[in-house]
């Protein structure tokens, strides 16, 4: 008995440790990770716009996860550029991109999000550091072209720089870059580097992104073919690419900087200016220049993405006003409260004092769930949606079900004529197995739903999965240990009629050690008499077996 008590107490201590641990990680997330003590809300509860995009690719082409990730990076860049803060862009279900924006995006932002990324190579005509916003730009240091009126003959011709263009360039602010409208391919334009540190005047397009066949990271080598320890990006062109590339490199190689550079342009901003050191005739270029492996990989990924421009189709676009969001949240919480009260009332009605154990257990489950959801919200960016709230409310019932399975098991054992203490242990052993396998099935359903779905379904599956897991924790670390401790109080062990475990009310056949009352009276014909007979045999057989095994239980 003392052993059982210490085991019960130990489980409760573990629970306290678990809760303290969760509070601790939440505290550290709030203190140092910019987290919060309340879960973040999804757009349907907070108000905002959620856009689900599906990539549009050529017939038969498959979108790889890598391309999706690239697309997300590009869309993020576009949304950030539009000045919308706190946008969340994620991939879901392996093919969709979900853009969640607080408030409402304007038409330009919508267009920006949907536009397909456009990559192109353009020669650099002039470059300079970015102008500092707010300061009057210094006059250009570069000499204006000698014959500004001349008609440019090719893409790298300095004659593209008209005095107007030069003036515009001198005053250009990088914040003004419009990534939605790509400049016409046969005209020069002014833009900035993606990180907004440099501005450029670029000539017309010489190589289209669609002519990029492949781009790979490789170890950089010197002219003798020996590894230099650096990283390079091997670029392979096809279609019109090699010819355009050859013409460009032939013309600009050897010119002074920046005229010897061409720019890799994505969405109208310059990813990187690249100096041409050799004439490339076969469309196979190697880009080197002090890359880290990561930077090289990044460039290669972007170049590959440029090779397969993905457009996006809006699959759904949902705007929720802040009022509607607040209404939905209130309704969800209200439903939860009502559901909780109903469950509590029913449990107390059915299980008397045990009903209070249900209430306490649900309370513990609620605390664990809240802390877990808040922690995931702080660290993993999980957002509670309306469907998630529905999942939490519905979980109340499923969690309480575990307690019922357990209580009914104990009652079964009491009906068999066992003492409360042993009824508790045997009942627990069997009930826990049932709870484990049932929860495993529920958990499986939740995980599969989560992995294979988009949007709302995910939020729902997520909360359902969490609560299923917490259900097991609570029933093992709280409900059962608590009952163990309670079973030592005379209120429960004497089977008080309000305890919910009254052997008398349960029609227990046990009448002291190895004594059983007469079989349950059979007044309902031969059939029930037969059943009753059998019922008694089960009890007797068990007691006989226990006795022969020399065990009390």
């Amino acid at each position: 008995m003392a052993k059982a008590r210490s085991r019960g107490a130990r489980a409760l201590i573990w629970l306290v440790v678990l809760i303290a641990g969760l509070v601790g990680v939440n505290f550290s997330a709030v203190q140092w990770g910019g987290g919060s003590w309340t879960p973040q809300l999804a757009l349907d509860l907070e108000g905002g716009t959620q856009i689900v995009l599906a990539p549009v690719v050529a017939e038969g082409a498959q979108v790889t996860q890598e391309q999706l990730d690239q697309a997300v990076a590009i869309i993020r860049q576009r949304v950030d550029a539009s000045g919308v803060s706190e946008a969340e862009i994620t991939t879901q279900g392996g093919r969709n991109i979900v853009v969640a924006i607080p408030g409402e995006p304007d038409a330009a932002t919508m267009q920006r999000i949907q536009a397909s990324a456009k990559m192109e190579f353009r020669p650099v005509l002039q470059s300079a550091a970015a102008n500092v916003p707010g300061e009057t730009p210094a006059p250009s240091e570069s000499t204006p072209p000698a014959e500004p009126a001349a008609t440019p003959e090719n893409a790298w011709d300095q004659a593209w720089i008209t005095p107007e263009l030069q003036a515009e360039f001198d005053a250009f602010q990088c914040a003004d870059v419009d990534t939605t409208t790509v400049a016409p391919a046969d005209e020069p334009f002014i833009t900035c580097s993606t990180d907004q540190t440099a501005r450029f005047i670029l000539g017309p397009v010489t190589v289209e992104g669609s002519d990029i066949a492949d781009a790979q990271v490789s170890a950089a080598t010197n002219s003798q073919g020996q590894a230099t320890g650096g990283w390079a990006v091997s670029l392979e062109l096809d279609g019109e690419g090699p010819a355009g590339f050859e013409a460009t490199t032939r013309a600009i190689t050897g010119l002074p900087e920046p005229q010897n550079q061409f720019a890799v342009v994505l969405d109208s901003t310059v990813l990187m200016p690249i100096s041409s050191n050799a004439i490339i005739t076969d469309g196979n270029a190697r880009i080197t220049g002090g890359f880290t492996q990561e930077a090289a990989q990044g460039l290669a990924d972007q170049l590959r993405f440029g090779a397969l421009p993905i457009g996006f189709e809006v699959q759904s676009n949902e705007t929720i006003s802040a009022t509607l969001g607040a209404d939905q949240l209130r309704a969800g919480l209200l439903a939860g409260l009502i559901g909780l009260i109903l469950v509590v009332v029913y449990s107390v009605f059915q299980y008397r004092a045990l009903g209070l154990v249900v209430v306490l257990s649900l309370g513990i489950a609620a605390i664990l769930t809240y802390l877990t959801v808040t922690f995931l919200s702080s660290t993993e960016g999980y957002r509670l949606s309306l469907a998630g709230v529905a999942g939490l409310v519905i979980a109340i019932g499923i969690t309480a079900d575990s307690f019922i399975v357990y209580f009914e098991r104990i009652r079964d054992e009491l009906r068999e004529g066992k003492h409360l203490t042993s009824a508790l242990e045997t009942g627990w052993k069997r009930a826990f197995r049932t709870i484990l396998v049932s929860d495993a099935v529920s958990f499986l359903a939740a995980v599969i739903l989560f992995l294979l779905s988009v949007g709302n379904v995910r939020g729902f599956a997520f909360t359902l999965g969490i609560t299923t897991f917490i259900d097991i924790v609570v029933v093992a670390l709280f409900t059962h240990p608590l009952l163990r401790l309670l079973s030592r109080t005379s209120f429960f062990s004497s089977g008080h009629r309000w305890s919910g475990l009254d052997p008398q009310a349960l029609g227990a056949v046990y009448r002291g050690r190895a004594k059983f009352r007469e079989p349950v009276a059979a007044g309902r014909g031969a059939r029930s008499a037969k059943e009753a007979q059998k019922r008694q045999t089960i009890a007797e057989r068990k007691s006989a077996m226990a006795a022969s095994n020399g065990k009390e239980d």
């Binding site: 809006v314 759904s316 006003s321 559901g339 079900d401 009914e408 294979l452 779905s453 379904v457």
Partner: protein, 323 residues
């Protein structure tokens, strides 16, 4: 103590007994009859009603109206997009929903302004959503994939746990019954099938099996090798012994779902809450029925010529037997 407890006692001892196994052919015929009736009813009524998420279109929700009425809503929309076929309904006391065929973004902006004007609210109170026609198809395809993966995995889990494929088959039969009946109720009444309803539908999977597992666990215990009595009688006793438990777990599971359904339908009208909980509400009730009147009879039918196995090992090592 509540009379359910004494009924439970009588069911436990066998003094009172539902002839679940003895009348299994009757129960199974009823199940098949229900399915046929629902299928015919759905066909006669004209198939399923799919929500805008499946057909594609635009939806406007005006919230914060002092008195919700659909007056003027359709006119306001048709003045801007004449061919859009506006359908307006009130939701709760302060919300009007207008669904239309797909409209362009410019039109949508104008319609929002017009609706805000009509109802005298700020245009920020007019929520707008657009759903492309492929959205619903996409979500149902994923749901179907999830369903298949789940069924395969769960039948393996059950077969391993119960150590007999017959229980696995019976559990899946009752699961199929739950899903079909729930779908049938949607079809016969004409509830709108939305992605949220599909979520609820998929959640039935977990719940339905939970119930069946609880019943089968007791069946397994009562029919463990070496147990005395006839196999079918013991199955019947197991089902009866878990009856009170099934009723209690079902009621407790249904109460919060009912709360969500009630609040969802009353306060928010058609939407995520109502759609998820409606499917689940039907599914839980059907699930309770099927774990008793479908799963157990099917299992009994599969094992009708079997007998309880003899103990082959020492009693203390036997599986699932009493301690």
């Amino acid at each position: 103590m509540a009379s359910l407890t004494s009924v439970g006692n009588e069911l436990y001892t066998g003094e009172r007994s539902l002839p679940v196994v003895a009348k299994r052919k009757l129960w199974l015929s009823i199940a098949v009859g229900i399915l046929i009736a629902l299928a015919l009813g759905t066909i006669i009524r004209g198939g399923f009603v799919f929500g805008i998420e499946f057909t594609g279109g635009s939806e406007f929700r005006v919230t914060g109206i002092s008195e919700a009425s659909t007056d003027g809503a359709a006119e306001a929309v048709e003045a801007i997009a004449p061919e859009a076929e506006a359908r307006a309904v009130t939701l709760g006391s302060d919300t009007v929903r207008v669904q239309t065929d797909a409209v362009s973004e410019e039109q949508a902006a104008e319609i929002r302004a017009a609706l805000a004007d009509t109802y005298g609210v700020d245009s920020g109170e007019v929520a707008f959503s657009f759903i492309g026609p492929s959205w619903g198809a996409d979500i149902s395809q994923q749901a179907l994939r999830a369903l298949v993966v789940f069924l395969v995995l769960v039948s393996i889990v059950l077969a391993v746990y119960f150590r007999t494929w017959k229980m696995s088959v019976a559990a899946l039969a009752s699961l199929a019954f739950d899903l079909l009946v729930t779908a049938g109720v949607y079809g016969i009444i004409g509830f709108e099938v939305t992605p949220a309803a599909v979520i609820g539908f998929l959640t039935i999977l977990g719940y339905s099996l939970y119930d069946t597992v609880v019943v089968f666990d007791k069946v397994r215990e009562n029919t463990a090798p070496g147990t005395s009595g006839e196999l079918l009688d013991n199955i019947n006793l197991a089902v009866n012994q878990t009856l009170v438990r099934s009723i209690n777990t079902s009621i407790v599971a249904t109460l919060p779902i009912a709360a969500v359904l009630f609040i969802g339908a009353l306060l928010l009208g058609a939407g995520t809450l109502r759609d998820i909980s409606l499917a689940l509400f039907i599914g839980t009730i059907v699930g309770t029925w099927s774990s008793i009147f479908v799963a157990a009879p099917v299992y009994a039918q599969l094992r009708q010529h079997d007998a309880i196995a003899e103990v082959t090992e020492k009693p203390r090592n036997e599986r699932g037997a009493v301690v």
